[in-house]
Amino acid sequence: MQSKCENCPVYNEAHLKKLGIKMDNFDYVVALAGNPNTGKSTVFNSLTGLKQHTGNWPGKTVTRAEGGFEYNNKFYKLVDLPGTYSLLSTSADEEVARNFILFGKPNVTVVVVDATRLERNLNLVLQVLEITDKTVVCLNLVDEAERRGVHIDEKRLAKELGVPVVATIAREKQGINNLLAAIEEVALGRYKGRPKKIKALDPKISKALDKLIEVLKEEFPDTPNLRWVAMRLLEGDQSIIDAVNSGELSSLTIKDKLTVNNELI
């Protein structure tokens, strides 16, 4: 899975500089999403050098934590989002995660996936892919999966999802360099893939979606994730209906500005 060099501090230092909470001038924003208890905070700590307390129970991080790192002379701001099973429901922590991916417009969204529970974790990955193409899947806890006799073909998974997939053991700091390389590729727009979009099983629904996307395009021609917006509207998601009414949706097209709904309530 990796070369010996990777665990050598000399090698790492040349490429990765952990900046802790120093992140005044950054080139890219990276969001860290994932199901609860998949090791997001561990990944966060190993990238930023911060010591956010990690705990073995779901729901450890309810607010976002931020840190920074430098990789190949580019500055990255890393935002650790609360762990969520989906981006659909309306609890406060899920909203923090969703609003950040949607309104915060991170340059890259890393979804940390528990390799021992791939199927359920993929639900979230697919939802993130609906919102943003600039996604990297961090397949964490592969050692635990191997111990249970589960081996995951990362290349195949990457092909299926249309985004980079990196196997890691964050606790042991293994695979972190590959993860950094993948983040860089996506941030710089070098990765060319075709991110998977959910196929609606019911033809009635896909027709309704197409119709609504047409209408939405007239008002918000530059918003990239209209398909997702349409889905949420058809579900009657009040916060998205409000965003349409207030024109906030069009702010999604402004590239460089960070407009985050920071507060929870």
């Binding site: 609860p36 208890n37 010591k51 307390h53 990690t54 073995n56 129970w57 779901p58 729901g59 309810v62 607010t63 099973y85 309306t90 609890s91 406060a92 922590d93 899920e94 021992t116 791939l118 199927e119 359920r120 993929l122 639900n123 990955v125 697919l126 939802q127 635990e144 191997e146 006799g149 589960v150 081996h151 995951i152 073909d153 990362e154 195949r156 998974l157 299926e160 606790r171 998977k196 959910i198 196929k199 609606a200 099983l201 019911d202 009635k204 629904i205 309704a208 119709k211 609504l212 209408v215 007239e218 008002e219 889905m231 058809l234 579900e235 009657g236 209906i241 009414n245 929870l264 309530i265």
Partner: protein, 471 residues
């Protein structure tokens, strides 16, 4: 503008056309897709039918028979280790900070001719308050927190939540409240923030209001100390530590019971509704990395909590010294207050000193005991025991503390009532502020502060009446 109306109209039309199963159908598509992708990329290796240790442990710790006794045992053990282990370091610290540094400071201030009131305010007020908090708080925290964090890293907390889930459900509350409650055992403010993991606003509010019934780390030392003096003294000295630990466990369990009762009451009255279902994942047991855990729990928890205690103890020390030294009609302000509330306080089994100490300690529960000791000396004229009016007391030995409290008219009943009142009273100001920030509602903030206070007085009253009838 027109376009927006058009969008909303189109949405409404389409929703009408599609009927109700949009969400379900979409979810089905999502799950199907996820499962197809997972199946394609998972390569199952040959599975040796290996003994699954996680399952085996889970079957015991979440079993209907063994689940609760084990929880009880683990909590007792952790507390017992904390009580026994913090005894000596506490004594060393108090020897250093109180018996050694304090006299040095006093003679230094005499040498430079500091005005008496500045000397009293700074050295007997602020410094002693800080020194006392360090010597009493640091040892138990430095033992309790790392052990608690190890349990957390191991993955035990979700099992506790699993065991308690059905009780919370029966109380009409969210099962995840068991998790926020566990967080509250560390710090109530943290527990209140953790309630964000609960989806429904109703259940989240219940979790916030009842979090106060989780003994927080500001109150564990109070419980441990009073239990050691009054409960430990009831049994032979070989088992005193164990008896004290068990009584603290009993108080903590009472907190859980009250948490459930109040949740039940709220969900049957003002916060009516059904408990929502949720999936609680039992994470795999992971061997904790001991060194890193020690490091983070010392830095993240112990030092931060200690720092907070010091920050609050210094102004409290200033206040205590001032109200004991500013007189009005020959009585100090403190005495005025104490004598005024004494009749009511004694009626419910407490005394005016305890009430005043709790008022002064609203910013931080940590400083309740030193405040009580100082005020007791003041009102009983035990001045020769103390080092002057308004000096926070050190605990050279438990015997000294015990004799001061007995001189202040304390009995076993007072000890028990203080333990109960320490569990059931208003949350500290940080928690109250956090509740306000989290709920955004003045009304619910006031309810969360007043409800436990009233309950605390009521419980002490009932216990006192029963005690007087049966003894």
């Amino acid at each position: 503008m027109k376009n927006k109306d058009k969008i909303i109209a189109a949405v409404n039309n389409l929703r009408w056309e599609m009927g109700e199963n949009f969400h379900d159908s979409l979810m089905e598509s999502l799950y199907t897709e996820a499962s197809e992708i997972a199946n394609k990329s998972i390569v199952l290796q040959d599975r040796k039918s290996k003994f699954d240790l996680d399952r085996f442990i889970d079957r015991i710790v979440t079993s209907k028979i063994w689940g609760f006794p084990l929880m009880f045992l683990i909590l007792s053990l952790v507390l017992w280790v904390t009580i026994e282990g913090s005894n000596y370091p506490s004594q060393w610290l108090s020897y250093l900070l109180l018996d050694t540094v304090h006299p040095v400071l006093k003679s230094f201030s005499a040498d430079i001719g500091l005005v008496w009131w500045l000397d009293g305010l700074l050295i007997d007020g602020a410094y002693l308050a800080m020194a006392w908090v360090i010597s009493v708080m640091l040892p138990p925290m430095a033992i309790f927190f790392p052990i608690f964090t190890l349990l957390e890293d191991l993955g035990y907390l979700p099992r506790v939540a699993f065991n308690l889930d059905r009780f919370f459900k029966a109380a009409g509350a969210h099962g995840k409240q068991a998790l926020t409650m566990s967080m509250g055992f560390g710090c109530n403010a943290a527990g209140v923030v953790a309630a964000r993991i609960i989806d429904s606003p109703r259940e989240r509010l219940i979790a916030i209001i009842t979090n106060n019934f989780s003994l927080c780390n500001g109150r564990w030392p109070t419980q441990i100390l009073i239990a050691t003096i009054f409960i430990g003294a009831l049994v032979p000295s070989e088992i005193a530590g164990m008896a004290a630990a068990l009584s603290v466990v009993a108080v903590a369990l009472l907190g859980i019971v009250l948490s459930l009762l109040v949740s039940w009451f709220l969900s049957k009255s003002v916060l009516k509704g059904e408990a929502s279902t949720f999936t609680l994942e039992l994470p795999p047991y992971r061997p904790p990395r001991v060194l890193q855990t020690l490091y983070t729990s010392l830095i993240d928890r112990t030092l931060i909590v200690l720092w907070r205690a010091i920050v609050f103890a210094i102004p409290a020390g200033l206040v205590i010294w001032s109200i004991s030294n500013i007189s009005l009609n020959d009585l100090s302000l403190a005495e005025h207050f104490i004598f005024a509330v004494d009749p009511v306080a004694i009626f419910i089994g407490l005394n005016g000193v305890i009430i005043l100490a709790y008022v002064i300690a609203i910013p931080a529960n940590e400083i309740v005991i030193p405040t009580i000791l100082m005020l007791t000396v003041l009102t009983t004229g035990l001045a020769e025991l103390g080092q002057g009016t308004g000096v926070m007391f050190e605990m050279d030995s438990l015997q000294d503390t015990a004799s001061i409290l007995t001189a202040g008219g304390w009995t076993v009943l007072t000890g028990i009532n203080v333990m109960l009142f320490s569990l059931i009273h208003n949350p500290c100001s940080t928690t109250i502020y956090t509740i306000y920030k989290e709920t955004g509602s003045m009304k619910w903030t006031i309810v969360s502060a007043i409800l436990p206070l009233v309950m605390g007085f009521f419980v002490c009253f009932v216990v006192t009446q029963l005690w007087r009838i049966f003894s």
